[in-house]
Symmetry: C2
Subunit: 135 residues, 2 copies
């Protein structure tokens, strides 16, 4: 039997800083000016710089590795729908909730939702598929 149950959930809370955006750009080479250039960003629908969506996705990966199911988890898949921008210095919550368990393979399906802490509005929604560690 899996040590997890449908409905189990965990939430972490992280502030998305300018340093994270700049570090992510350096690490990946994603220098999209929408994330880094104030003058360019002012011309966009968002009027100011937004964080890379994949930073929030990286935080889902962290929550999986540290909270649910935890260390040793193997990431099999993720869907991501970026429903609203995250601006610099916003605090977001990353919520994981077990939606389904394939007992024979120890594979969990998790609902993964990121929200602005300030007003609870959704910025990212999707689903993760994860191989849970056996012990």
């Amino acid at each position: 039997m899996s040590k997890f149950q449908v409905g189990d959930s965990k939430t972490i809370e992280v502030q998305i800083t300018d340093a994270m955006v700049r570090d992510f750009a350096k690490l990946t080479g994603d220098f999209n000016p929408i994330h880094l250039d104030d003058a360019f960003a002012a011309t966009t629908r968002f009027k100011r710089r937004i964080a890379h969506g994949m930073i929030a996705a990286g935080l889902i990966s962290r929550a999986i590795a540290t909270e649910l199911p935890g260390a040793g988890a193997v990431y099999l898949g993720q869907t991501l729908k970026f429903t609203a921008p995250v601006f610099i210095d916003e605090v977001i919550t990353i919520e994981l909730k077990v939606k389904a368990i394939r007992e024979e393979k120890n594979i969990l399906t998790l609902d993964t939702i990121c929200r602005r802490k300030s007003d609870g509005s959704t910025v990212l929604e999707g689903e993760a598929t994860v191989l849970a560690p056996r012990n």
Copy 2:
């Protein structure tokens, strides 16, 4: 009319280094030992450390921002299926290919595939949805 056509494609090539894995761990807080701890990783099905899957996802984000459709692109969604591990120092290719265009909204659907350069085997497959810049 969109300046893009179904079938347009771009490929970038990136080596996934140990420094990238450690920087990604620091940036996101994803310290899953499967990525960072040789002794732990030796006990897993992979026998050695693997890169965070979301690093490859970040490289898809880079290819979207820099190649197709390019600067100013707004990421709307992504599906990710991690089909095989990426080991430290492997070179992967990230291929984007326009699969569909919603002309009225200037929204592109892209096939996104990451492969090992050494043998062409797939490590990540999925689909991106992107709002292309207007000019």
